[in-house]
């Protein structure tokens, strides 16, 4: 019997985690916490620890989301067992073998994993999603301690919700150090506006204070998955690519034909973004007749 904590029944990452657990063999119990339970990572983990003991679970899994990773780390700490985060595969045995993502997915690790139950989180898109029935609903165990409950969501700030969100945008026009200044982003904003897209940027840009961190794409920024990612003046560091490799297509604009971004690009324009980007905007206006 394998236990999978899920966020809900419908979302794709939960369906992938359940499919992953089915791949281990044996029964799978998908569980979630009742809608009224305020998120409390250590208390939820304590509940999962007790459930795993009660059912004699051979594995406890979760999707490798912020909450999935956090919960499984608490479960592991409470049990004194290892946990492997962001796994793309898990083969039970003694020891079990895992393949997991490192460096935000830029590198894979093959590792041996000890412990019983096996503890792991499932990296997105490791397996195809499979629908599953209504998960079992859990209430926080009465055995959760005061310390467990000391960390508990007590309030919520709703996002302002203006404009297209970077994570969901169909088009992302992104600028790097090559943009040269905060003002230089005018041409990037103009093109993004014409395409109904969002503005992104590299870490070189946020570190310089040209754009807010909420615009940063990459390993420590936002992960995007647009129809097209237009990278202007970005060299293509692995940590940046970790955030935009989910894009269906990538167009890179850079005067340096050797820039590593071109190795991941579908389309290349060799040139200065300050000439190329306004020319693209002008051409869009021309074909639209505006």
């Amino acid at each position: 019997m394998n236990i999978v904590w899920v966020d809900g029944a419908g979302d794709e990452l939960s369906q992938q985690a359940v499919a992953f657990a089915r791949g281990l063999g044996g029964d799978v119990a998908a569980v979630r916490f009742a809608a009224g339970e305020a998120y409390s990572p250590a208390a939820w983990a304590q509940t999962l620890v007790e459930l795993a003991a009660e059912r004699g679970a051979s594995a406890v899994l979760a999707p490798a989301t912020d909450r999935g990773n956090e919960l499984l780390a608490h479960v592991a700490a409470k049990l004194g067992q290892p946990v492997a985060a962001n796994c793309t595969s898990l083969t039970p045995g003694s020891p079990a073998r895992v393949v997991r993502l490192r460096w935000g997915g830029s590198l894979l690790e093959e590792a041996a994993l000890d412990g019983s139950p096996l503890l792991a989180t499932v990296a997105p898109h490791s397996v195809a999603a499979e629908p599953f029935g209504e998960p079992e609903t859990l209430a926080v165990t009465p055995a959760a301690s005061e310390l467990d409950l000391a960390v508990r969501v007590s309030g919520r700030i709703e996002a302002a919700g203006a404009g297209v969100s970077l994570a969901d945008a169909e088009v992302v026009v992104s600028g790097g150090r090559g943009v040269g200044s905060a003002e230089g982003f005018g041409v990037i904003e103009e093109l993004a506006g014409l395409l109904g897209g969002a503005v992104g940027c590299s870490r070189a840009v946020t570190s310089a204070g040209w754009r807010p961190h909420s615009d940063q794409v990459g390993q420590t920024g936002t992960k995007v998955s647009p129809e097209i990612y237009i990278a202007c003046g970005i060299s293509g560091a692995t940590q940046h690519m970790a955030g935009c490799k989910g894009a269906k297509r990538l167009l890179a604009i850079n005067p340096d034909g050797e820039a590593s971004i071109f190795a991941s690009a579908d389309y290349a324009v060799i040139g200065d973004l300050h000439e190329v980007v306004p020319a693209i905007s002008a051409e869009i206006r021309k074909v639209r007749g505006t």
């Binding site: 499984l72 590792a111 297509r249």
Partner: protein
């Protein structure tokens, strides 16, 4: 407020990762080193809290002898002292890392009010060392924090979630992991670098226990194997770009 910040030395890999011959590490012969942006922000946050409330910042790393460079970087932006757990250069698994940090914290005469970490290490991405440390020390732990304030021993933390932010309130002492974006870290100044050379670094050499998550081999995933279609040079490429955008259906 006495604050501990934990940072990990990692290579700055640039555009391509190359592995050593045995496939167990990144080839770093020509690379510089840094710490994760999350951890830089943790150090910056500690220094700001100490500027506001008084106290001191201690920065800790478990890493090879060369990791003193990262400790000096953090001392240069304003940390007061450092603890270097000198490793054998081998990778320590997250359980062993957490245990070494806990032992070092327990060995100090004064407990910390706040222990700050990155949300995840840049290279390992284990999402667990701080939670294990909190568990062993009997402290509460909040993760992925993008805004933090302290008042009269009470912490208020904001965590980004889909559609907004969740708020947590808890008492010190506590463990908090932060994400890049919580602040914009300062750059070290030349006088800061000079002062850093004279700040104390306490070194010790913990023993590495057997790993229970044992890295065997690293693999560079196959690239997308793309051959970019060159649409042109300079502004003359614009009409072809717009054709492509129309084909994709975004115009």
């Amino acid at each position: 407020m006495n604050i501990l910040v934990c940072v990990k030395r990692v290579p700055l890999t640039g555009g391509r990762m190359t592995l050593t011959e045995d496939g167990r590490a990144i080839q770093t012969r020509h690379l510089g080193f840094t710490v994760s942006p999350h951890e830089e922000c943790a150090a910056e946050e500690a220094i700001r809290l100490v500027e506001e409330h008084g106290g001191s910042t201690t920065v800790l790393t478990l890493g090879p002898a060369e990791a003193e460079e990262q400790l000096r970087d953090m001392l240069a932006i304003g940390a007061d002292r450092a603890i270097h757990l000198v490793s054998d250069g081998e990778e320590w698994d997250p359980q062993a890392t957490a245990a070494a940090i806990v032992e070092a914290v327990r060995a100090l005469p004064e407990p910390f009010d706040l222990l700050l970490f990155g949300n995840e290490s840049a290279d390992g991405g284990n999402y667990q060392v701080p939670i294990r440390v909190a568990h062993s020390l009997g402290l509460p732990c909040v993760t992925g924090i993008k805004a933090l304030s302290a008042q009269d021993g009470l912490l208020r933390c904001e965590q980004e979630v889909a559609g907004g932010r969740d708020v947590y309130e808890l008492r010190l002492p506590a463990v908090v992991t932060v994400r890049e974006g919580i602040n914009l870290p300062r750059y070290p100044s030349v006088p800061g670098r000079m002062r850093a050379k004279r700040k104390p670094v306490a070194a010790s050499t913990p023993q590495r226990p057997a790993a229970r998550l044992r890295m065997e081999r690293l693999v560079v995933p196959e690239g997308p194997g793309k051959q970019a279609e060159i649409l042109g040079h300079g502004p003359e490429a614009a009409p072809r770009v717009v054709e492509i955008l129309a084909e994709i259906g975004v115009i």
